[in-house]
Amino acid sequence: MKAAVSLIVVLALVVLAYLGTGLGQAGFIFGIVLPYLALAVFLVGFVSRVLGWARSPVPFRIPTTCGQQKSLRWIKHDRLENPFTAWQVIGRMLLEVLFFRSLFRNTRMEMHQGKMTHGPSKWLWLGAIVFHYSMLVVLLRHLRLFTEPVPFFVGWIEAADGFLQIGVPVLYLTSLGLLAGLGYLLLRRLFIAQVRYISLLNDYFPLWLLLGIGSTGFLLRHFVKTDLVSIKSLTLGLISFSPQLPEGVHWLFYAHLLLVCTLFAYFPFSKLMHLGGVFLSPTRNLASNNRAVRHVNPWDYPVKVHTYEEYEDDFRDKMVAAGIPVEKQPQPAAAAEKE
């Protein structure tokens, strides 16, 4: 149901682009207004969300570790699992961000001949890494439509990505990787009962949206071709703030663009913010040095205290009179005066 609703939303966006630019003449809105709006929402939303996180104090070190902490000289320290210095933290984070190490450790439990067994489960890691790296390459490849002159490395990426030379224009491996990775990530939510149970609308929607972007992009490259020079003149107009709407661009291009705009505008409010959040996860990015360095809690409130000594000063005479033992005896002079 949730999967169906989010699919319908994505399809409705495609239909909207068709109604607006295939039948209607709303190219100005879809080609110029919405891209600027979406980029503005993305930038402001992303930055303000990360700044909100940055305002949080970091009082203590709370890394989750699974290796020997730095200790005595003769005890072997596990530098990556239990980082002590900033460089060790950087090493740990690099493995996390570039290779999804936590996900690689995924395990599954199964009843096996009446016994509970644990085994490795790499499929999620594989689907995630194929999708993310394909997405990165696809984004970098798109620079050819957004820069003039095109930076040198874009040609290298294209040559490597299309080295099989299938068809004209050549098929890129990452086009397939993107769709295959997303397809797996979607199917596991649909067909693994436990995962389906915990899946929400905002788990399905980004997947359908990205699948929509990937498939419209794939169609535009291989099956519904349209004049690319016109499209690049639109994008270059947008980035030089003097946009001009080209004529005769196929409506499917505007559908692709509308889905991308939706992704950008939706991004700061969604789970996709893990792009920034992964760098801010305190169980990963803090050095495990609680025993070596004193960390003072920045929000410690200056508590007004009244010590026992002060209490005794206030009531010593009454305490002595009542026969309660006191730590500090009253001054003999004062006592004599009383008598």
């Binding site: 957004f146 040559a159 004209v168 030089s240 920034g276 920045p298």
Partner: protein
């Protein structure tokens, strides 16, 4: 302790990377460049009409390659039926039964009108960072 210094540094790098197309293109000062491929003068029309050629010429050439090399077919009947009464009406093709037909050949047909690779093919291809492998086998016409 706050980590806001490091986070704001990271954020600045992120925004700089994200806006790379903006500042890179504006710094290069070529944002208003549009390729202007040299059109042949004195010719009536291409094999198919211009809008189709702009988007689909690579498929046409791919199809021609397969037809000639694999199927031994050399004559192309365009989807666009150009009416004609004699060969001269057909811009490099020939007239048969009142409709233009063409020899399926990059070198002997396309390059007869579009005489310069650098001033025709490459202008758009460079603009869009396309490196077709046509020229792995075909010789580009000598530049005059």
């Amino acid at each position: 302790m706050h980590d806001s210094g490091k986070i704001i540094g990271g954020l600045v790098i992120f925004v700089a990377g994200l806006t790379f197309p903006f500042w890179f293109t504006l710094a290069a000062g070529q944002a208003d460049y549009r390729p202007d491929p040299e059109r042949p003068t004195g010719q009536k029309h291409c094999v198919e009409d211009t809008a189709y050629m702009k988007a689909w010429h690579m498929d046409l050439l791919d199809h021609w390659r397969d037809e000639v090399v694999r199927n031994g077919q050399r004559v192309y009947l365009p989807d666009k039926r150009w009416p004609c009464s004699r060969d001269e009406d057909c811009t490099g093709g020939f007239c048969q039964q009142g409709i233009c037909r063409y020899d399926m050949s990059l070198t002997n047909n396309c390059l007869e009108c579009h005489r310069s690779r650098a001033r025709f093919c490459d202008r758009c291809h460079d603009y869009l960072e396309v490196k077709p492998y046509c020229w792995d086998c075909h010789l580009a016409p000598e530049e005059e």
